[in-house]
C-alpha cells in the first residue's frame, strides 16, 4: 500500500506539469519527452510511452492494411486469424494460456473491427511482464492453429455476426455501408458475416497468416512504466526476427456517395425507426477532417436541442466524423417514431451552424449565439473529451497507433490541442456548408414496413432548410 501511495504522489508531481487548456506550454512540448521511437533490425518501428502512473503494461502489435487486404468473400479473415492466434502455440497451448491469464489477471486479445488496421495486444501488470512477454511473442510468431481451435473461433465469430443482425442499429449501419460502399473495400465487414465466416477454412487462415504477417506490415506500441532498454532487447530477440514478405498494401480508393434513400424493413422495430445519413469528408490527414470533427461536436448540441428537446423526436441524435484513410461523416437519429420530421429538424440544426450560429451557452437572452462568441468554449470541451479518452495505458496506446498509421508520426496526437485552437469560425462554416448543406448524403431509414410506408421520401432527397 505504501509503495503505491508513493507512486501516486510522484505521478501527482509529474502531472502537475500536464497540460491544461490555455496554458502557455503546449501539450506537445509537455509530453513529447515521454515518447521514444526506435526501430528493430528488421525495420519494425517501436513506439514506447513511459507512464509511471500505474502498474499496468500494455503492448500492441499493430497490423497495417485492414480490409484493403481482403476480398469481399474473405470478410472476417483477419479477425479469424487473430482470434486463432490467441488460442496458443505449440509451446504454450490454449489450456495453459487460459489458466495463466486467469491466474495473473492478464489478457492476450485482438481488435479487428476498424477499416485500416488491426491490433494484437498484451495487457498485464508489471510483475508478470517477464513471464508473459515470451508467451505473447510465441503465440504471435508460432501460433499452433489447430483444427479444433479453428472450429471454436469460427463458431464464436459466427455467433457474434448473427447477434449483430438482430440489433436494429447495428443492422442499420451494416445495410447502409453495404450499399454506400458497394465495390469499395470499406464494404467489407472486418468482423465478417455469418456467410463469409462459415465459408472460410483453416487453410484460408494459414495461408493468410503466412502471406501477411511480415515485418513491413507491423509496428509496436508499448505504454507503461517500461525499462526501455530491456524492452527493446526483448522485442529484438523476438519480433525483430520476423522477416519481410514483400507485402503490398493496396491504396484505398475514394468512394462515391449514393443519393437514393434506402428504406429497409426490420421486423422487430415495433414502430420505431433508426435514421442515418453518411457522407464523404476530408481524409484524416487533411486539416478539414479535424474541422469537421469539431464542427460535428458543435452540431451535436443543436441537434439534441432541436430534434430531441424541442420536439421529443427521438431517444438520441448525433453527428460524427469517422477518421479513416477514406473518412466519412454520419448523422444519426436513434430510435424515432417520426423519421420524416426528424430529417427536417436535422436540417434546421445544420442550417443554424452553417450560418454561424450555435446554442447560446451563456443561457441568457436569445437561444442562439454567434459562433464567434462560443467557439472558445466548444474548443475547451473538445480538448477535454480528448484528454478523457487517454486515461488508461491501452487508450494511450490506441492514440499512438492511430497517429502512426495515419500520419506516420506517433507524436501527431500531441498536436491536437494546438490544431483545435487554430480552427476559426470561418473554417467551421465552410466545412459544414460543403459537406452537410451542399454535399451528398446517403440516407437510410430502418423500421417495420408500416413505418417505412409513411416515410416522406422528398424530405431525404435534398437539404430542406435552404
Amino acid at each position: 500500500m505504501k509503495a503505491l501511495r508513493k507512486i501516486i504522489i510522484l505521478v501527482a508531481v509529474f502531472t502537475l506539469l500536464m497540460p491544461v487548456f490555455g496554458q502557455a506550454q503546449s501539450f506537445y512540448e509537455l509530453n513529447k519527452g515521454s515518447i521514444t521511437v526506435k526501430t528493430l533490425s528488421n525495420g519494425i518501428p517501436v513506439i514506447i510511452k513511459k507512464n509511471p502512473a500505474n502498474k499496468v503494461y500494455n503492448l500492441k502489435i499493430v497490423l497495417k492494411g485492414g480490409v484493403a487486404l481482403l476480398k469481399p468473400e474473405q470478410a472476417g479473415l483477419e479477425a479469424l486469424t487473430l482470434a486463432l492466434m490467441t488460442r496458443g502455440s505449440e509451446k504454450y497451448n490454449y489450456e495453459f494460456l487460459k489458466r495463466t491469464m486467469y491466474e495473473k489477471s492478464s489478457s492476450i486479445s485482438y481488435s479487428a473491427v476498424g477499416y485500416d488496421y488491426s491490433t494484437f495486444d498484451l495487457n498485464t501488470l508489471d510483475k508478470y511482464w517477464k513471464e508473459l512477454f515470451p508467451v505473447f511473442a510465441d503465440v504471435f510468431m508460432n501460433p499452433s492453429m489447430l483444427p479444433d481451435m479453428f472450429k471454436q473461433v469460427q463458431n464464436d465469430l459466427k455467433v457474434a455476426a448473427q447477434k449483430s443482425t438482430t440489433d436494429q442499429y447495428e443492422f442499420t449501419v451494416t445495410e447502409l455501408h453495404k450499399a454506400m460502399f458497394a465495390g469499395h473495400p470499406y464494404a467489407i465487414e472486418a468482423k465478417g458475416t455469418v456467410q463469409t465466416i462459415t465459408a472460410l477454412t483453416l487453410d484460408d487462415v494459414k495461408s493468410f497468416y503466412n502471406a501477411t504477417i511480415g515485418a513491413e506490415r507491423l509496428f509496436i506500441v508499448a505504454v507503461g512504466n517500461f525499462d526501455e532498454a530491456a524492452l527493446l532487447k526483448d522485442l529484438e530477440a523476438t519480433f525483430g526476427k520476423i522477416q519481410k514478405k514483400n507485402i503490398t498494401i493496396p491504396e484505398v480508393p475514394k468512394w462515391t456517395p449514393k443519393a437514393d434513400l434506402m428504406l429497409v424493413p426490420f421486423k422487430n422495430a415495433r414502430g420505431v425507426a433508426h435514421v442515418r445519413g453518411d457522407y464523404p469528408i476530408a481524409p484524416v490527414t487533411d486539416k478539414d477532417f479535424l474541422v469537421q470533427q469539431f464542427a460535428n461536436s458543435i452540431l451535436n448540441e443543436l441537434l439534441f436541442s432541436i430534434v430531441r428537446t424541442d420536439n421529443g423526436g427521438c431517444y438520441s441524435v448525433w453527428a460524427n466524423a469517422h477518421g479513416f484513410k477514406n473518412s466519412y461523416g454520419s448523422l444519426v437519429v436513434f430510435k424515432t417514431n417520426k423519421p420524416s420530421s426528424a430529417k427536417l429538424w436535422v436540417d434546421q440544426a445544420i442550417k443554424l451552424l452553417a450560418s454561424g450560429k450555435t446554442l447560446n451557452i451563456k443561457g441568457k437572452g436569445d437561444k442562439y449565439a454567434p459562433l464567434t462568441e462560443t467557439i472558445g468554449a466548444y474548443k475547451a470541451k473538445y480538448i477535454n473529451t480528448f484528454f478523457g479518452n487517454q486515461v488508461t495505458n491501452a487508450e494511450q496506446g490506441s492514440q499512438l497507433a492511430s497517429s502512426f498509421i495515419y500520419f506516420n508520426d506517433p507524436y501527431e496526437y500531441l498536436r491536437l490541442a494546438d490544431k483545435i485552437n487554430a480552427i476559426t469560425p470561418e473554417d467551421v462554416i465552410r466545412v459544414v456548408n460543403k459537406t452537410l448543406v451542399n454535399g451528398t448524403i446517403t440516407w437510410i431509414v430502418v423500421s417495420d414496413q408500416a413505418s417505412l410506408n409513411s416515410v416522406n421520401k422528398d424530405n431525404f432527397s435534398k437539404f430542406t432548410a435552404q
Binding site: 501516486i8 505521478v11 487548456f21 471454436q152 438482430t166 436494429q168 422495430a269 443561457g363 478523457g388
Partner: protein
C-alpha cells in the same frame, strides 16, 4: 436573486465546519459524511487535468410499485430538463458546454440511479454547483414532462421485440413473481403516460435526499479542497426521512414452488447453436452478507478455465459448444440476488434440447458437481483459494489505473450493499473457506427450486416443439414475457 444570496450565505457557514476524513483501504481514496448524511468519496489521480463528478441514489426499480414501474427512469431523464437555475434542457446543456463538460450521462438500474459528468479540474467548483441545482431543485415542467414521456415510451417500445429484453423480462416475471415491478427498470407505456409533476415531486422528496445519496469525485483533485466545495453546495441540502427505515418485503425464496422450464425462440442465435441456463433465487446482500462473500469466492473458483468444475461438466454433458462458455456466478443485489449456471451447446435432434437440459446438464451440474463441492472439503485445492486471493489483489491494482471505473464500482457497491461492505470485501473474501461455500450452496442451490431456460434459434425451437412441450417447457415470446401484460 435574494434567494441565491441567502442560500450562498448558508452554504458558506456550513463550509466553515471541519469534517474528519474516515479511513479507507484504498490508497488515494478519502471518505467523509456530511451532517445531512451525504456520503462523499474522493479519489486522487492526476493522469489528466479532468475531474469526474458522480452522484448516486439508492432507488430505481427496487422502489417501484405496479403503478410507478418505469418512473424512476423517467425521473432520471427529467433531471436534465431544467431546474431553478437552468430553466430548460437547452440552458442546462449550454451551461455544460460553458463548463467544458466532456462527458455526461445518467443511468437507472434495479437498485440505483446515478448521474455523472467530467469537467476540467479547474472548473470543479462550478461543476459541483451545477449538479447541486439539478439534484436539489428540478422543475418537472409539465410541457417538458409530456415531451419526455414520448421519448421514454419510444425507448421502451423499441426494445419489446429484442430477444435479450424478452429473456430478461421473463426471468424477472418468474423469478420475482410476487413483486416483478421491483426489477423492471423500463416499465411500460401506461405507467409512463400516467406520470405527473406531483408524482415526480413525491419521488424527489422521498428518495432524492442527502441521506440516501453519495457523491463520488475523482481525478485531478485535492481532497480537502473538494470537500469544502461539496459542503458549500450540498451542505444545506435538507435531510429527509430514511426511505429504508421500513424494509421491503423480500422476494420469496424459492422463487418457484416447483421447477419451471422456459424456452425462448431467439433469432440472435444462429441455427444449430443454443444456450441453456439453470437459475436460482440467491442471497440478498443485506439479509445474508456471509453467503454473498462465499458466493463471490465460489464464482472466482469455478471461473478457473482449467478447474474441475468446467472440466467435469464439459466431459459429462454431451455436445457442449465450448468449455470456455460454461459459466456459473452469483449476481449481487440487495433485493434480488440470483445464481446462474449456463452453457452453449450444439443442437442435435438425436439428443433433443429438453433432454440435454433435464437429463444431462442439470444432473451433472447440480446433482454431481455442486454436491461434490458441498461434500468434499478438498474439491477446490488450497492453491486455488490462494490464486483467488492473488486475483483479487491484482484487480485492486488494475482498478486504480482508471479512476472513473473505480468510482463506478464503488458507486455500485455503495448502492446495492454499503460502503463498509465494499471496504471489507477483499478481507472478508479472504476468510472464506469450503465450509462457507458449502453452506451457501446447500441453502441456495441444493435446497432451492430451479428455473431452467433454453434459448435457441426459432427454427431449432420449431423443430423440437413437441419434445419441448412434452417435457413441460413453456414457450416465451413478446406476448407472455412481460409481467404488466398479465396485470391488465
Amino acid at each position: 436573486m435574494k434567494r441565491y444570496v441567502l442560500a450562498l450565505m448558508a452554504m458558506l457557514c456550513i463550509a466553515a465546519i471541519p469534517l474528519a476524513a474516515q479511513a479507507t483501504p484504498f490508497p488515494g481514496l478519502t471518505r467523509y459524511t456530511l451532517d445531512n448524511g451525504l456520503e462523499v468519496f474522493i479519489l486522487e489521480n492526476h493522469a489528466v487535468p479532468l475531474a469526474r463528478i458522480q452522484i448516486t441514489f439508492r432507488c430505481g426499480a427496487i422502489t417501484q410499485t405496479p403503478e410507478t414501474a418505469g418512473l424512476f427512469h423517467l425521473y432520471e431523464h427529467l433531471l436534465f430538463k431544467g431546474n431553478s437555475k437552468y430553466k430548460t434542457e437547452t440552458e442546462f446543456s449550454a451551461a455544460m458546454t460553458d463548463l467544458g463538460v466532456s462527458e455526461w450521462n445518467g443511468g437507472t438500474s434495479t437498485e440505483y440511479v446515478t448521474y455523472y459528468f467530467t469537467v476540467p479540474s479547474s472548473k470543479l467548483d462550478a461543476g459541483i454547483e451545477f449538479w447541486s441545482w439539478a439534484i436539489r431543485e428540478p422543475l418537472f415542467d409539465p410541457e417538458e414532462l409530456a415531451i419526455e414521456k414520448d421519448v421514454v415510451v419510444n425507448e421502451i417500445n423499441a426494445e419489446l421485440g429484442d430477444p435479450d429484453h424478452i429473456y430478461n423480462a421473463a426471468m424477472d416475471k418468474y423469478m420475482f413473481s410476487k413483486f416483478p415491478w421491483r426489477r423492471d427498470v423500463g416499465g411500460f407505456e401506461k405507467a409512463i403516460r400516467s406520470a405527473t409533476p406531483a408524482v415526480m415531486r413525491t419521488i424527489q422528496n422521498t428518495y432524492y435526499i442527502p441521506n440516501n445519496a453519495a457523491i463520488f469525485i475523482s481525478g485531478d483533485v485535492n481532497p480537502k479542497t473538494v470537500l469544502e466545495m461539496v459542503k458549500k453546495w450540498f451542505g444545506t441540502w435538507k435531510k429527509g426521512a430514511d426511505p429504508w427505515k421500513k424494509p421491503l418485503p423480500p422476494h420469496p425464496t424459492p422463487a418457484v414452488t416447483k421447477p419451471l422450464y422456459l424456452v425462448i425462440p431467439d433469432d440472435s442465435l444462429p441455427q444449430g447453436i443454443a444456450y441453456m441456463q439453470i437459475s436460482y433465487r440467491g442471497p440478498d446482500v443485506l439479509a445474508d452478507p456471509a453467503a454473498t462473500y462465499a458466493a463471490d469466492v465460489w464464482g472466482y473458483l469455478v471461473d478457473n478455465p482449467d478447474g474441475a468444475f468446467k472440466n467435469t461438466i464439459n466431459d459429462k454433458v454431451p455436445g457442449l459448444y465450448n468449455k470456455d462458455y460454461i459459466n456459473a456466478y452469483y449476481y449481487t443485489q440487495r433485493d434480488g440476488g440470483q445464481i446462474f449456471f449456463s452453457t452453449y451447446f450444439f443442437v442435435n435432434q438425436n439428443l433433443p434440447m429438453a433432454e440435454r437440459a433435464l437429463k444431462y446438464f442439470k444432473p451433472v451440474v447440480i446433482d454431481e458437481v455442486v454436491k461434490s463441492i458441498v461434500s468434499n472439503p478438498n474439491y477446490f485445492a488450497r492453491k486455488e483459494y490462494d490464486t483467488v486471493k492473488a486475483i483479487m489483489e491484482d484487480h485492486d491494482l488494475i482498478s486504480l489505473e482508471n479512476p472513473e471505473g473505480f468510482m463506478s464500482t464503488l458507486s455500485f457497491w455503495w448502492s446495492v450493499a454499503s460502503t463498509d461492505y465494499y471496504f471489507g470485501y477483499v478481507p472478508n473474501m479472504k476468510k472464506v473457506t469450503q465450509k462457507e461455500i458449502a453452506a451457501f450452496l446447500t441453502k441456495y442451490v441444493l435446497n432451492n427450486t430451479e428455473i431452467i431456460v433454453i434459448r435457441a434459434n426459432p427454427d431449432d425451437v420449431a423443430a423440437e416443439k413437441k419434445s419441448l412441450a412434452d417435457a413441460g417447457f413453456i414457450t416465451i415470446t413478446e406476448e407472455n414475457a412481460f409481467w404488466w401484460r398479465d396485470a391488465k
